[in-house]
């Protein structure tokens, strides 16, 4: 189980300005170079800004919010909020 890799990425995003800038320039290339491995599902969700899927996979919300705070993977605060809330609503339907 590698969801910990996504958690690491999110914490690194909060701490590493160069990583943030690289992810903004070339998200796919930078993820490929990241020292930890992602599953295909995780990589696809990250690149699509699909934080709803990642939330339901168990990525820590406190950390994942940094993706939206720094506008990575096309995320805005509004989009992040909508996707996370929608994923939870879908789970409970």
């Amino acid at each position: 189980m590698s969801i910990i890799s996504v958690n690491h990425l999110c914490r690194d995003v909060a701490r590493d300005r160069a990583l943030r800038e690289a992810l903004l320039r070339d998200p796919e290339g930078e993820l490929a170079q990241y020292p930890r491995k992602f599953t295909a599902t995780e990589r696809a969700a990250l690149l699509a800004g699909d934080v709803g899927t990642l939330y339901q996979m168990g990525v820590n919300a406190y950390l994942m919010g940094y993706l939206a705070r720094y506008g990575l993977f096309g995320l805005t605060g509004e989009a992040y909020s909508a996707r996370v809330r929608a994923s939870e609503a879908a789970k409970n339907r």
Binding site: N7, R11, Y55, A61, Y62, A68, R69, E88
Partner: protein, 273 residues
């Protein structure tokens, strides 16, 4: 012998130092921290114990202790982003921390020992406001309150009682103040934050309820109601009330002397002395 001379419950929002810098000393948050700081000064502590929760900065998923104590003669922080607050060192007392560690383990609390560590905003923000010179010695006791499984509220209270007994068995004449750090209802980046926002207060009724219990000294009621089910409605960092509950366990004889809710942020300020 050492004694616990008072306790202070406080929030630790990482944006509060910047908020106070921007809004000035007359804003509500600044006024509350100033009152708490005045009370803190009146306690004249030689040492501070702070029950707190790391936000995946000191610890991470590879090693995530439920309970831990910092054992060193100094530590540094913040190791996360706290706008307007610089990274600095905080004095501590390794010998006292070792005594607390040994005493609590002997009593059945298996605290991890942490050396050469840094802390995040959950320690530095309260200290920033209470003792801006960072001159008083501080020992952090970490409780994992954000990520299930959390310790129960009853266990946290008994931990506080155990820490009090350990302090009282320290042979030196030491005045010890205790801090409980955290919020009652707050959600950070989770599905309980309001639509379109990254943070919010999803359960203001719980903030009211906690305040009522504290003001009535109905600690048993608070312990009974501070459950995982309540935390699932009150936000993903609402378990921080466990830091307050552990702090309440250290109190023996002190009375609530000041209480100030801050509903906008889902937290409160309180002093027992």
């Amino acid at each position: 012998m050492a004694s616990i001379v008072g306790a202070i419950g406080l929030p630790h929002n990482p944006n509060f130092p910047e908020l106070v810098a921007r809004q000035g000393l007359t804003c509500d948050t600044a006024q509350s921290y100033q009152r708490a700081a005045a009370e803190f000064e009146m306690l004249r502590p030689d040492a501070v114990l702070i029950f707190t929760t790391d936000h995946l900065n000191t610890f991470f998923f590879e090693n995530l202790p439920i309970l831990a104590i910092g054992v060193d003669d100094e530590f540094a922080g913040p190791n996360d982003e706290v706008p307007t607050v610089s990274h600095r060192k905080v004095p501590s007392i390794a010998s006292l921390a070792r005594h607390l560690h040994a005493s609590t383990v002997a009593a059945g609390f298996d605290l991890s020992s942490v050396q050469e560590f840094e802390v995040d905003h959950s320690v530095i923000v309260p200290l920033h406001f209470l003792s801006s010179t960072f001159s008083v010695s501080v020992i952090p006791i970490f409780i994992s309150t954000h990520i299930a499984p959390r310790p129960t509220s009853r266990r946290c209270f008994v931990l506080g009682e155990t820490v009090r007994a350990a302090v009282q068995s320290w042979p030196g004449p030491l005045r010890v103040a205790v801090i409980g750090s955290g919020s009652f209802s707050f959600d950070v980046h989770g599905h309980l934050s309001p639509p379109g926002r990254l943070v919010g207060v999803p359960d203001p009724a719980w903030v009211h309820r906690v305040g009522e219990h504290l003001q009535r000294n109905a600690i048993s009621d608070l312990i009974n109601e501070a459950t995982p089910e309540r935390f699932s409605r009150a936000g993903n960092v609402s378990g921080e009330i466990l830091n307050w509950i552990a702090m309440l366990g250290t109190i023996e004889g002190q009375k609530l002397s000041w209480f100030k809710p801050e509903l906008e942020f889902g937290n409160s300020y309180a002093v027992w002395r």
